[in-house]
C-alpha cells in the first residue's frame, strides 16, 4: 500500500486549490492509500491551514518555525528530507513553488521524479504509471517509474477534480522538532508586487488576445482594430510581453492576469496550460490558429483554421458593417 504525502501550499493559512485536487490524484494512485497532508509555515497561518486540512486528511503533519514563515523551497526541502519516510510517494504542485522544491527533493530522497502530471493510471505492483504532456501540450506521454523506494511527483494545478466537502476527522501531528537544521544558502528578502498597467484587462467582457502567431510588433495594430470594432480590449500571451510588444499587465496566464471575460478570442495562441490557467469562469473561447493540431482547439468552443493576419482584418470589416 502506497504511503502518500501531499504538500499543502497556502497563503496566510488559506490552502490553495491544489490541496483538494491531491485527494483525487492520490485515489488514482491507490484507492486504499494512506494519504498524509504536510503543511509548513509559522504561527497562526500554519495552524489555520493545518486545521482546515483535518477535514480532508486523516493525518496532517505540521512543521513550524520562523524560518518557514515564507515558503522558501531551499529551507522546506531540508525539513522534508528529515521527516519523510524512505518509501514516501511525495506529491507537490507543478507551480513556481513546486518547480523550486521537487527536483532537488527527489535527488535528496534518491527517488524517481515525474513533474507536471496531468493524469494517473495507477500503481501496478510498485510501478507507478502517469500521463504528462510534452511540446507545449501537442502530445501526451505515458510515463512509468518504480516507486518501491518512493517517488516525487508534481501535479498540474486544475488537472484533477477537487474533492468535495471533507469529513476525514483527521489529526494534526506536530513534527517541527524533527525538521533539523534549517539554515540555507538562499535567503528570502521580499516579494515585489507586479506593476499595475494602464489598461485593466480583467474588467473587460470581451478580450482579443494575441499570441506569438501575430509574428511582428507592427501587427499588434491589426488586433487593436478588431478589438475596437468589437468593443473589446487587447490582451496577450507571454511571448508578446517578453518581446516588449505589449505591457505586462495585458498578459493572461499563471504569471500574468487572471481574467473572467464572457468571450475570449485566442488569436495565434497555442494553448499552453500556463496561458489557459489565467482564463476562469468558462468564457466562450474562439481560437484562430493556422495549425489544425494546435492544442488550443481541444479547449476552445469554436475553432477556425486560418492565418490571423488575414482573418482579423476581414472580421473587423464585417463587424464594423453591422
Amino acid at each position: 500500500m502506497a504511503r502518500i504525502f501531499a504538500y499543502i501550499p497556502h497563503k496566510e493559512g488559506a490552502a490553495e486549490d491544489v490541496a483538494y485536487e491531491y485527494i483525487t490524484a492520490a485515489a488514482k494512485i491507490d484507492p486504499n492509500a494512506q494519504v498524509t497532508a504536510i503543511v509548513t509555515g509559522h504561527g497562526d497561518a500554519l495552524d489555520k491551514a493545518a486545521g482546515e486540512m483535518t477535514a480532508y486528511f486523516k493525518e496532517v503533519i505540521k512543521i513550524g518555525g520562523e524560518e518557514l514563515a515564507y515558503p522558501n523551497a531551499e529551507v522546506i526541502r531540508k525539513a522534508l528530507v528529515n521527516i519523510l519516510p524512505a518509501d514516501a510517494v511525495f506529491m507537490g504542485p507543478h507551480n513556481t513553488f513546486g518547480m523550486d522544491l521537487a527536483p532537488g527533493l527527489s535527488v535528496k530522497l534518491d527517488s524517481p521524479s515525474v513533474s507536471d502530471v496531468v493524469d494517473i493510471e495507477g500503481m501496478d505492483g510498485s510501478t507507478l504509471k502517469v500521463v504528462r504532456e510534452v511540446l507545449g501540450g501537442q502530445f501526451s506521454t505515458h510515463v512509468t517509474c518504480d516507486a518501491a523506494n518512493g517517488a516525487v511527483i508534481t501535479i498540474r494545478p486544475g488537472a484533477f477534480e477537487p474533492a468535495e466537502s471533507g469529513s476525514a476527522g483527521g489529526e494534526v501531528v506536530d513534527k517541527s522538532g524533527d525538521a533539523g537544521d534549517l539554515t540555507a544558502k538562499r535567503r528570502f528578502l521580499e516579494v515585489l508586487e507586479a506593476e499595475i498597467g494602464e489598461v485593466d484587462i480583467t474588467k473587460s467582457d470581451v478580450l482579443v488576445s494575441v499570441g506569438r502567431g501575430i509574428e511582428e510588433e507592427e501587427n499588434i495594430e491589426i488586433a487593436q482594430e478588431l478589438a475596437e470594432a468589437m468593443g473589446a480590449v487587447v490582451s496577450c500571451s507571454r511571448p508578446i510581453v517578453d518581446a516588449h510588444w505589449l505591457e505586462k499587465s495585458r498578459q493572461v496566464g499563471t504569471s500574468g492576469q487572471t481574467v473572467k471575460p464572457k468571450v475570449y478570442m485566442a488569436m495565434g495562441i497555442s494553448g499552453s496550460f500556463q496561458h489557459m490557467g489565467g482564463i476562469k469562469g468558462k468564457p466562450f473561447i474562439v481560437a484562430v490558429n493556422k495549425n489544425p493540431k494546435a492544442p488550443i482547439f481541444q479547449v476552445a468552443d469554436v475553432g477556425i483554421v486560418e492565418d490571423i493576419l488575414e482573418f482579423m482584418p476581414e472580421l473587423a470589416e464585417k463587424v464594423k458593417e453591422l
Binding site: 523550486d100 510515463v143 538562499r186 535567503r187 493540431k293 464585417k318
Partner: protein, 263 residues
C-alpha cells in the same frame, strides 16, 4: 566569474507540424527543424551580460549527439567563449535525473561560480536545473528573472512567481539558477556571427572522459521511462467552423452575437 550555461537542442514548435512515427513511441524525427530551447537563449544572454560587467568566461554545454554541435555554435556566435559537447551512445534514453548526472560530471571538471539552465525545455519537465543543484549540493533558485552580482560571493536574484510578482532572494555562490524568459532581450545572431565561430574547435566528451559509469545513465540508468506518445482525447474539442472565409465569418458573428461578444 566563470559561468556554465546548459543548453538543449529542441524541435522548433513554430516551424514543425509534428507527426508520430509508425510505432507511436516517438515523434517522426526525420526532417524536423531544430533550434535552441527558447529559455536557454535567455540564460546565455544573461551570462554574457554578467561577464561583460564583471569579467570572466561563459561556457555553453549540451548533452546530445553530433547534430547538437550547431546549438553550441549558435550560442558561441551570441558571445559564449567556449562550448562543450557531452555525447555518448550510453546517454541515449536519459531521463532528467540522468541528464543532470551527466551535466554534474562536467561541472565538476571545471571551476564554475554560477551555473544556469533554462526554466524548462520541450518536455516541460522543469527539473534538470534543480536536480543538478541538489547533486552538487549548491543552492538553487528556479524561474529567475533578475540577477545582480553582489560583493562577498553573493548574488541577489528575483524569481518570477504567480501573478507576475517577483520574489527577491540573496544566494551564496556557487549556485545553480534556472532562467525564465523575459529576463533580458537575447541578441540577434546573424549568418556572419555563425560563420565567425564555424571553425572553432568544440571538444566532445564521452562517458569515460567524464568518469560516468555507463549503466548509471541513459536508458539503463534511468528510473523514469517514457512509454509512448499520443494525442490526448479531451472530449469534444472545439466546433470547427469551415467553408470560405466569408462563410466562416458569418457563422462566427452569429455565435459572437449570442454570447455577448459584440458589445
Amino acid at each position: 566569474m566563470e559561468i556554465l550555461v546548459c543548453v538543449k537542442r529542441v524541435p522548433d514548435t513554430a516551424e514543425n507540424e509534428f507527426e508520430l512515427n509508425s510505432e507511436g513511441n516517438d515523434l517522426d524525427r526525420d526532417d524536423l527543424v531544430y533550434s535552441v530551447n527558447e529559455w536557454d537563449n535567455y540564460a546565455v544572454e544573461e551570462a554574457i551580460q554578467i561577464v561583460d560587467k564583471v569579467g570572466g568566461n561563459v561556457t555553453v554545454v549540451t548533452v546530445g549527439d553530433d547534430e547538437s554541435e550547431e546549438v553550441l555554435r549558435r550560442e558561441m556566435a551570441m558571445g559564449a567563449n567556449n562550448g562543450v559537447l557531452l555525447s555518448d551512445d550510453a546517454f541515449e534514453g536519459s531521463d532528467c535525473r540522468s541528464i543532470a548526472a551527466i551535466l554534474k560530471a562536467e561541472v565538476e571538471s571545471g571551476a564554475y561560480d554560477l551555473i544556469m539552465t533554462g526554466a524548462q525545455a520541450d518536455d516541460g519537465a522543469a527539473e534538470v536545473g534543480g536536480m543538478l543543484a541538489a547533486m552538487l549540493d549548491m543552492p538553487y533558485a528556479s524561474l529567475v528573472n533578475e540577477i545582480e552580482i553582489r560583493d562577498g560571493g553573493k548574488i541577489k536574484a528575483g524569481r518570477e512567481i504567480e501573478g507576475g510578482n517577483q520574489e527577491m532572494n540573496e544566494i551564496e555562490l556557487p549556485c545553480v539558477l534556472s532562467i525564465q524568459t523575459g529576463i533580458n532581450e537575447p541578441r540577434y545572431v546573424g549568418i556572419r556571427g555563425i560563420r565567425k565561430v564555424a571553425k572553432v574547435e568544440i571538444p566532445t566528451k564521452s562517458a569515460s572522459d567524464l568518469g560516468i559509469e555507463e549503466n548509471s545513465v541513459g536508458e539503463k540508468g534511468s528510473k523514469v521511462k517514457r512509454l509512448d506518445y499520443f494525442v490526448p482525447d479531451l472530449g469534444e474539442g472545439a466546433e470547427m467552423l469551415e467553408g470560405s472565409t466569408d462563410e466562416i465569418i458569418e457563422k462566427l458573428i452569429e455565435k459572437l452575437k449570442s454570447k455577448g461578444g459584440l458589445g
